[in-house]
Subunit: 385 residues, 2 copies
């Protein structure tokens, strides 16, 4: 152990989150805000391994707190899955499925709007990805019919169907919601397992693994289920579940892909404590879509701002092309940082410092007054030219 200086240690003391009180447009921040119930639970359960007080060897079988019922009954009903497992996040769930059912060297098919973590999870598993392309600017729509073509291609090229198909529902750039059910039908026809990445769906909108006709779906607690990170869920359906949930040959009650136990800590408590509110909020998803459309409509009244992606938007996450801000940045004394600063002056954050040409935002759970405040800010800033 080398000496660590006092000043270095002091920098770890009393670290404050500086964004409190701001309206935060960053899509990764909106769906993970804790409910008051979860906030209460945090004080109660923050210590180390607190939820393991009454464990008999398997995290997901703990009765007190009621993890067993939550994982084996509540969550499967919530997403119409046969089984649900807790993971450290959506990416860890994707990795787990790929690791369990795809042979290294095999090829998978994924939409070109897939999150980078789908690619990295595949790379970690030594899988190749063939992409189903989108139609590019300005819509970036994935043509789901092309899943059939790509599957055929992989069969022809490798002699085998893809070991997995992945569809991102919605993607994290444009908030496009592809017809995942149609992908499910195509994959069923070809006997290709399908995984739906619903990190921005589960906890925001109703999602039914059964209705979408897929084998696996992954969700994110910190992204969309009002939970402290890191936590995610994996929903499973059908015969392939067994492979993913296989038990250790030596430790009979431990699941191999879970390394025994998954997220053994506070994030799970927040997922549980927030769940009644999350269950309720997904029923009001249409209101969120209306708010997003209202926001986009108002914002597009500014010359030089338009929403990219499918229109009208079907999700709270949206990608904006903002030429008007880019033009201002060319002449403004703060240069490309002007937008970040101007927004911050107006108590708005979540657009990355330096971006002016385009960026993504989310309107999730903003009320009308907050939306209006953001719209007014955009309008004022656009007048700076």
């Amino acid at each position: 152990m080398a000496e660590i200086g006092e000043r270095e240690l002091a920098r770890l003391e009393g670290i404050k989150r500086t964004v409190k009180g701001f309206l935060n447009l960053n899509p990764i921040q909106r769906g993970g805000i804790l409910t008051p119930e979860a906030r209460k639970a945090v004080g109660e359960w923050a210590d180390g391994y607190s939820l393991c007080d009454f464990c008999d060897g398997v995290l997901e079988s703990i009765k007190k707190p009621p993890i067993d019922e939550f994982v084996h009954e509540t969550l499967p009903r919530f997403i119409d899955a046969d089984e649900v497992r807790l993971t450290h996040g959506a990416r860890e769930a994707k990795y787990m499925v790929m690791h369990a059912i795809c042979k290294p060297g095999s090829t998978i098919v994924a939409d070109s709007n897939a999150h980078y973590s789908t690619h990295v999870a595949a790379e970690r598993n030594k899988l190749l990805i063939v992409e189903v392309e989108n139609n590019n600017y300005p819509e970036y729509r994935v043509d789901v019919e092309k899943y059939a073509e790509r599957i055929e291609e992989v069969k022809e090229k490798t002699g085998k169907p893809p070991s997995l198909a992945v569809i991102t529902f919605p993607d994290g750039n444009y908030g496009n919601l592809p017809d995942a059910k149609r992908v499910g039908d195509i994959c069923s026809e070809y006997g290709v397992p399908l995984l739906i990445n619903a990190a921005y769906a589960i906890g925001r909108m109703p999602v039914s693994l059964r209705d979408l006709g897929a084998d696996f779906v992954v969700g994110s607690g910190h992204k969309s289920m009002a939970s402290s990170g890191p936590i995610g869920i994996l929903g499973l359906r059908g015969d392939l579940s067994e492979q993913v949930l296989r038990k250790s040959s030596e430790y009979k009650n431990k699941e191999v892909e879970m390394l025994g136990c998954g997220p053994r800590g506070l994030p799970l408590i927040t997922l549980m404590a927030s769940f009644p509110a999350v269950y309720e909020r997904v029923k009001h998803w249409e209101g969120e879509v209306e708010n997003a459309r209202f926001f986009i409509k108002k914002i597009e009244e500014i010359n030089g701002i338009q929403q990219l992606g499918i229109k009208p938007t079907e999700h709270d996450l949206n990608f904006l092309e903002t030429n008007v801000f880019y033009e201002i940045s060319k002449k403004h004394k703060k240069g490309r940082f002007f937008l970040y600063r101007e927004l911050k002056k107006r108590d708005i954050i979540g657009v990355k410092p330096g971006l002016t040409k385009n960026f993504k935002i989310s309107t999730y759970e903003f009320n009308k007054d907050e939306l209006k405040k953001i719209i007014d800010a955009f309008k004022e800033i656009a007048m700076l030219k």
Copy 2:
């Protein structure tokens, strides 16, 4: 989405931790109790992905809060490692190293006191384990010289040296601290990479990866670093680090084995906030060993109780053989649950309900008065016969 009943939802409301105010002997609970500083930070940072407010694409490069300095300077100095990475826990770190450097089908060598998660991580990687045995009852001491024999055996049998050696320092049953440095020397001689599982060491006692002569060391935030679960650390040293930390071919700033970013949430904030206190407490490790020895000495004055494992103990985690309680349980009207109940009456928990013959306990961070209270309780309960 199927309907979820009101009563089922109500069971998730206001879930309380029922063990508050009790002296908790469970070894997994003692080293993860948050510091007051961490407790404050929890309120500040509990939302979803809060620490990603100012992220440029890599969790461990975030400057605000000061994750970058913490991961790249502070932690490496703390454990004398070249590099440190954050993981979801010690098991996930073990899995990551095995995945990066061991070919499926290869053999690793591990001590027979290894945690089950070492076995499950190996199984998930399709590795075989050859065990270095301990000397059984009552000491369970691992003869570290036998690492050489086992390595030779693997070479003879498979034509190759083991792809990794693992030593558990200390193990989680007896708290035995093997001579890891000697294992490091043997492994160096044979050119076998060594991983030290220090989940019960880092954060409790000084640990130096360099001095132990190993390539990798894993630690646990929730077990021993006063952090909310799940979080762990991986320390790396030497040439093999590159393989573990390799970047994605497609996403140049993302590490493949990390799936891009590791523990993106509150547990990391608690690890950082507690760190100054943890850095201080490891300097007083000798006091903890003294307390453990004091406790064992007093407890062994009771006829029919003895500590198993290496004596005198060198760790706060100890395994007790308690024949006296077993004998009482045979006649007691509560049967084998009497001990749990009698301890609970005296505000003591952490011995699993139903155990009477033997169990493990930890005395970590109990003060003398608390130790005396526990000793008196054991003495009183032993009189029930």
